[in-house]
Amino acid sequence: MKEYLTFVRQFKDLREGKQEIFIKDLSPGPRKYDTKHVFAEISSDPDRMSDGDILRIRSESGILLPQPWGIKILEELPESVPGKPWEDVFKAMAIPERNPW
């Protein structure tokens, strides 16, 4: 069974099921932490995925979720995703805010 790692901003953002996700391969050796972009099914209960792997999860500040999830990789996807640099910042800035302070 292999182990992978992924990051979410907050743990409440996690959702089970099939999804596109970036994961890091935690296999020991000089290629540890290699990133893969995959389509995978993930579950909060690793035991529910008999042929799955372990998925460790960290938050945006690097805090490790105490209980690992399970992951089953269904398809490897291209190594990058469409998007423009800093798009998330520009998008956030475009949304007007009612109560700025």
Binding site: T35, E60, E79, V81, K84, A92
Partner: protein
């Protein structure tokens, strides 16, 4: 004589007692980072890890190039014991004499000893460290120098930006949206949807990395200021896959491009303010096209975090002088600027000939005009030695009026997203605020009511001072 390369610098640090070589096997996965971090917190020497797990002999890691004022002094060819204020003066004086770089032929450039192109490219050939537990990846670019160019003006920018390994041919990074790299990207490449050529340089001579941390103005080439500080031209060589020029004596050069239509995730990372604070983002992708490197390459790193370390020290010097010049350029009667390393460029001391509310506001206006990296500024009278934080605290505690002495400015779209006190929402929108504390006497107060500082040099006449100094030993003191 300036240092030709990082190897020369290491040899000098060995002689001055500012280097430890570790021959025991050390794991690139957290162990090297933890050792480096602990050493910073002890104020210790730089460390050369010569036996890195999973990597062949000759592939080494080096932490802490400029992690103390001693090493900064050595990098500038000054005696190691040179006081901070004198290092500031030397740096400031030398900047006035920029020297254009020299372009070397490829065959004379040590960084071309090994060349990997196309399918040969593999970032895992190098012992990139996993620096902190919980980081988003292995930051091969932590103490680096990133070269980009504005094709319209020819301006080449050097900046220090973090980049981690994504996979064998991609890196992910997050130069701030307010950075000069981002400026070039937004000005030229994004509107044309053209990938931006980029080179990430590891292990150049120490001055090259120092100037990469400096906030020079848009359009100014850092390479000629590296020459100014070295007092000798820096030698550059052309990249293999683009026309960018990189320091010829570098240990490792990673060439590639930043696409305008593809991204990869970056972070989080334990950053220079001393926290890992939600700095995860849709990062800038760096598609690697070539890697050139010296035989037995030395990968320079920084176990970045709580000050004092290379980042907080280098930025203290480079930002301090840039700010002094910027304030002076705006007509503010600045005497000196000190960026205490402990304040990680969030806290700045500015001394002025004439203070007061108006000058304090003008000082804050300067710091908030464009991208804002500064959070708090203390404005002080010129009698305060701003290189002595004890004196600054005394003046701040006693002279800053709790109501009239505080000026605040709010802004959006140009705040420092790495400032830990900002909420995730504020960081997303680059929204923030800066505050200036006026710790000067109001200029409108008549001289006769200004409180007199009760210090030996200020509350006694010259006559009494001289008498006490002359008789000091006769009182029985040593």
């Amino acid at each position: 004589m300036p240092f030709k390369d990082h190897r020369d610098f290491i040899e000098t640090l060995r002689k001055t007692g500012d280097l430890i070589e570790v021959t025991k096997e050390v794991d690139w996965d957290l162990e090297a980072g933890a050792i480096g971090r602990k050493m910073y917190e002890m104020g210790g020497p730089s460390i050369w890890f010569k036996n890195v797990k999973n990597y062949p002999e000759g592939y080494t890691l080096y932490n802490g190039s400029l992690g103390t004022w001693r090493r900064v002094a050595v990098s500038l060819s000054l005696p190691p014991e040179t006081p901070t204020q004198e290092i500031y003066r030397a740096y400031e004086e030398r900047l006035d004499k920029p020297i254009d770089p020299i372009i070397l032929e490829k065959k004379k450039a040590p960084c071309k000893e090994n060349i990997l192109l196309g399918d040969q490219v593999d970032l895992y050939r190098f012992p990139a460290p996993m620096i902190h537990e919980g980081d988003g990846g292995r930051y091969i670019g932590s103490w680096d120098l990133v070269v980009t160019k504005d094709p319209e003006t020819g301006w080449t920018n050097w900046g220090m930006y973090r980049f981690m390994i994504h996979n064998k041919r991609w890196m992910a990074g997050w130069p701030q949206p307010t950075s000069q790299l981002a400026h070039q990207m937004k000005k030229y490449y994004l509107p044309r949807n053209e990938p931006m050529p980029v080179a990430l340089v590891i292990g150049a001579d120490p001055i090259a990395h120092m100037v990469a941390t400096a906030p020079f103005r848009l359009g100014e080439d850092e390479a000629k200021f590296a020459g100014a500080l070295r007092r000798k031209a820096i030698e550059l060589v052309k990249c293999e896959t683009c026309d960018l020029l990189v320091p010829a004596h570098s240990e490792i050069v990673i060439e590639g491009e930043i696409p305008t239509d593809q991204i990869v995730p970056d972070g989080p990372f334990g950053e220079y303010p001393g926290y890992r604070s939600g700095t995860m983002a849709e990062g800038v992708g760096f598609r690697v096209k070539a890697i050139t490197y010296r035989n037995n390459p030395i990968l320079t790193m920084i176990a970045l975090g709580v000050p004092i370390d290379d980042s907080s020290i280098a930025a203290s010097l480079t930002a301090g002088i840039a700010m002094k010049r910027g304030l002076s350029h705006r007509g503010i009667p600045v005497v000196d600027v000190y960026v205490p390393p402990e304040g990680v460029t969030h806290l700045i001391y500015v001394s002025v000939k004439k203070g007061g509310a108006q000058v304090t506001k003008e000082v804050l206006d300067y710091f908030t005009a464009r991208r804002v990296m500064v959070s708090k500024v203390i404005v002080l009278d010129e009698d305060v030695d701003i290189f002595d934080s004890g004196q600054v605290l005394h003046a701040f505690a006693t002279k800053c009026h709790p109501v009239r002495g505080i000026v605040i400015e709010h802004y959006e779209g140009r705040a420092n997203s790495l400032t830990p006190c900002y909420s995730p929402k504020e960081r997303e929108r680059l929204k923030g605020a800066s505050v200036a504390f006026d710790a000067t006497w109001p200029p409108e107060w008549p001289q006769e009511i200004v409180p007199i500082k009760a210090a030996f040099k200020t509350i006694y006449s010259k006559e009494i001072q001289n008498k006490v100094i002359q008789n000091w030993r006769s009182y029985g003191f040593k």
